[in-house]
């Protein structure tokens, strides 16, 4: 019974994954015969490729910002939208709505919003006298990554709100009632009940968001193509360009192996940290 599923899984996942490992030890342009180069691709990445290191740094910054703000915002919204009233259900739908949009559409919409000369964001700042905040959001390397991070947060927070609402609704109401009897404030209730009880959900949200930030290809590509001067490049856009623009498929395979290890390591560290906090073994 399991064979067809395993065969499909092998064809769609295992075979490409092992092929990727194989090609990471080759020099291959996608056309001519691959040439075995041992660990050269990996050693070159580690010792000679400043661009890779820069992009890796970009991706860490992007992930850090998105994970922190997206998680906090999702938790905040979820605490306000916990009860199943008509208003909160409607608001949950509103918050979730961006998630169903196509990422390229989202990228294009936000590109218009960020337009330095005609965009809504700068127009808004100028209208309230904050001309200094009317920046060249996507065209200036100092801001482009953060501008995309904000878009990513807007895009996916609603999804995390739904996960948090489901998690927070599992917390027994009696705990809050007892805390109220003891005279605990809303903040004390949040600190002592909601946050500890929400940690398992937070583990899921953080892990999922981290993975999302390491595969944020379409948003980055549709908004800046990684520019200006690679300032908003993340690992997946770099890998794409290495393979499909530079035709260095072996080298791109090595980059993607590093990406897998980075995501695995981050996920492991997050899980470990959250386990310590929840006292899980």
């Amino acid at each position: 019974m399991a064979f067809p599923a395993f065969a499909l899984y092998s064809f769609l996942y295992l075979y490409p994954s092992f092929s990727n490992i194989y090609y990471s030890f080759q020099r291959w342009d996608g056309v001519t015969k691959p040439e075995f180069v041992g660990l050269h691709n990996f050693t070159y990445l580690a010792s000679n490729d400043d661009l890779f290191m820069k992009v890796l740094g970009n991706n860490f910054r992007f992930s850090f910002i998105v994970v922190i703000f997206q998680t906090l915002l999702a938790l905040l919204f979820a605490t306000f939208l916990l009860k199943n009233t008509k208003t909160t259900v409607a608001l949950r739908i509103v918050f979730f709505f961006p998630t169903i949009l196509s990422s390229v559409s989202v990228g294009l919409i936000w590109t218009f919003l960020y337009d330095p000369n005609f965009g809504f964001i700068n127009a808004m700042f100028k209208a309230v006298g904050l001309d200094g905040l009317a920046l060249n959001w996507l065209g200036d390397g100092k801001y482009s990554l953060y501008a995309i991070a904000l878009t990513q947060i807007w895009f996916h927070t609603g999804q995390m709100v739904v996960i948090y609402v489901a998690g927070l609704q599992q917390i027994p109401q009696e705990l809050y009632e007892a805390a109220e009897v003891d005279g605990a404030s809303r903040w004390q209730q949040f600190k002592s009940i909601t946050w500890p009880m929400a940690l398992p959900t937070t583990a899921v949200v953080v892990a999922y968001t981290t993975i999302q930030t390491f595969r944020a290809f379409d948003l980055v590509y549709s908004m800046t193509q990684g520019g200006p001067l690679n300032s908003s490049d993340v690992l997946v856009t770099l890998i794409y360009n290495t393979a499909f623009s530079s035709y260095k498929w072996g080298y791109a395979s090595a980059q993607s192996i590093i990406l897998v290890f980075v995501v695995l390591l981050l996920t492991y560290l997050q899980r470990r940290t959250l386990r310590i906090n929840t006292g899980e073994k």
């Binding site: 000369n117 005609f118 065209g139 200036d140 690679n230 035709y247």
Partner: protein
């Protein structure tokens, strides 16, 4: 090719001009008529051309410095075009990256299918970026992709190396319907592997009505260009709507910066090759001079504010709405502009962006948008369908339908552009000495050309020249070594 009524020396000079100018376009109706001049009188505008079939007249600067009509023969090696081939029944895929041509191509396909019962051609369309990156991988494993397009240079070479290009040299429509010199980008060792079908001119478009209204003259030197920028900007007009945030179209301007940057074509080619292979840095004097000109344009106010965030959605809109005087991309941008503002029909003309104050080596840029080829790995029957369709595209009425429908010039003889005033109005660039777009001589697109263009864009946006070029050089060298 021989010009009557001029000395042999002049004939050679004109031959060079004419070879470039008329290699790419079969015929043009009298632009003189469009501009109110009467054909037959002494020509007064360099580049104005006329002609209905295999010969044409062009208004060209002679060696004596005077403008004269010169009769030229078009590039086809045979005077009589042949009819389209018949196709066997069957279904093939036609892969390309021209979504904007889908409707007109479908109309042509419908006609072809009506003439050839049982034949079906399905268009498979990707956007140009995806096509550049994915087409080879997809077509090389798809025998049904019997007809496909490639870009001149790197992509064509890649398909050749992969054995996907069928030799179509022996077909009569190749020698008799296609302008022979237009075949150069698809010719390898004397054999023809495709038809470079659409000809375009990667030069700035300008709003002729705005220029006339303001009493501006089209700049023909570098100093005039910078002076024009200051004049236009002072009037609140964006001089050059340069879409710097969209690398593909922002890079078009680089062609103009390259074309007169070296004393001759061989030197230019070798300098580009040196950078493309990592033998020279972007910090070389030659390239620094090019970068300085980007900076100079920025300093002169040629570009809009925050130009590095100015994309190719906003730029044509500004040009179409009269906020910008010049849209520096190419003939391929005309249809977008007229869609945005139909009243721009007939108002666009083309200029060469000259970056020197001395006599320029070249006055403009031309290029082949794509090369149509038959898949060598398809079945014989599918190849014959693709080849027959290619021969159908190479007939004048069909090429004319394509040209008028897409607002682009084509490399097929006997095409009449009278139905499209914008094609007529921009045809005068064909009378100038044009260079095949040198941007595409950078064959390492991802490793060299993209970062190099990004650096020039950043510099055009005000970034420091020395640091930007040094950093980009390092990135390029490291990427080439990987």
């Amino acid at each position: 090719m021989k010009a009557k009524g001029i000395t042999p020396f002049s004939a050679r000079r004109f031959g060079a001009v004419v070879a470039v100018a008329f290699a790419l376009v079969a015929t043009t109706l009298p632009s003189a008529t469009a501009s109110g001049e009467v054909f037959g009188k002494a020509c007064s505008t360099e580049g104005i051309s006329t002609g209905q079939s295999t010969t044409s007249l062009i208004c060209t600067m002679g060696s004596n410095g005077k403008l004269t009509w010169t009769r030229v023969r078009l590039g086809s090696s045979s005077a009589k075009p042949v009819a389209a081939l018949k196709a066997q029944p069957g279904t093939i895929e036609f892969h390309h990256w021209r979504p904007e041509d889908k409707v007109v191509l479908q109309s042509i396909i419908d006609k072809f299918e009506a003439l050839n019962p049982g034949v079906h051609i399905n268009q498979v369309i990707m956007n140009s970026v995806d096509y550049t990156n994915l087409a080879y991988a997809k077509i090389s494993v798809n025998k049904k992709a019997a007809l496909f397009v490639t870009s001149r240079g790197g992509q064509f070479d890649q398909f050749m190396a992969g054995g996907l290009m069928k030799d179509i040299s022996s077909n009569r429509y190749i020698s008799q319907n296609v302008i022979s010199s237009a075949l150069t980008p698809a010719t390898v060792a004397g054999r023809v592997y495709g038809v470079p079908y659409q000809s375009l001119f990667n030069n700035p478009l300008y709003n002729s009505e705005m220029f006339a209204k303001n009493g501006w003259t089209v700049p023909t030197t570098w100093s005039q260009t910078l002076a024009f920028c200051k004049t236009a900007k002072a009037k609140g007009i964006i001089p050059f709507a340069w879409p710097a945030a969209t690398r593909g179209n922002a890079g078009q301007i680089m062609n103009s910066f390259l074309m007169n940057s070296a004393p001759d074509l061989a030197t230019l080619t070798s300098r580009i090759a040196a950078i493309d292979t990592g033998k020279a840095d972007l910090t070389s004097d030659w390239f620094v001079e090019i970068a300085k000109k980007y900076k100079a344009m920025n300093d002169a106010g040629c570009f809009p504010d925050n130009v590095t965030g100015y994309n190719d959605t906003v730029a044509p809109a500004d040009f179409a709405s009269g906020k910008a005087a010049i849209y520096p991309t190419g003939t391929f941008g005309m249809s977008t502009v007229t869609k945005l503002n139909p009243s721009m029909v007939g108002k666009m003309k083309m200029m060469g962006l000259i970056t020197v104050d001395t006599k320029p080596l070249y006055q403009g840029i031309t290029n082949n948008t794509f090369i149509l080829s038959v898949n060598a790995k398809s079945t014989t029957r599918d190849q014959s369908i693709a080849n027959a369709f290619l021969s159908f595209l190479a007939t004048a009425p069909i090429a004319q339908e394509y040209a008028v429908g897409t607002s682009q010039h084509v490399s097929i003889i006997n095409v009449d552009y009278a139905a499209n005033i914008d094609l007529l109005n921009t045809s005068d660039i064909m009378g100038k000495k044009l260079l095949l777009a040198p941007r595409f001589l950078f064959v390492n697109v991802g490793t060299v050309r993209n970062p190099l263009e990004d650096a020039l864009i950043a510099i055009g946006g005000g970034a420091d020249i020395t640091k930007t070029l040094a950093d980009t050089s390092k990135t390029i060298k490291q990427s080439l070594g990987a």
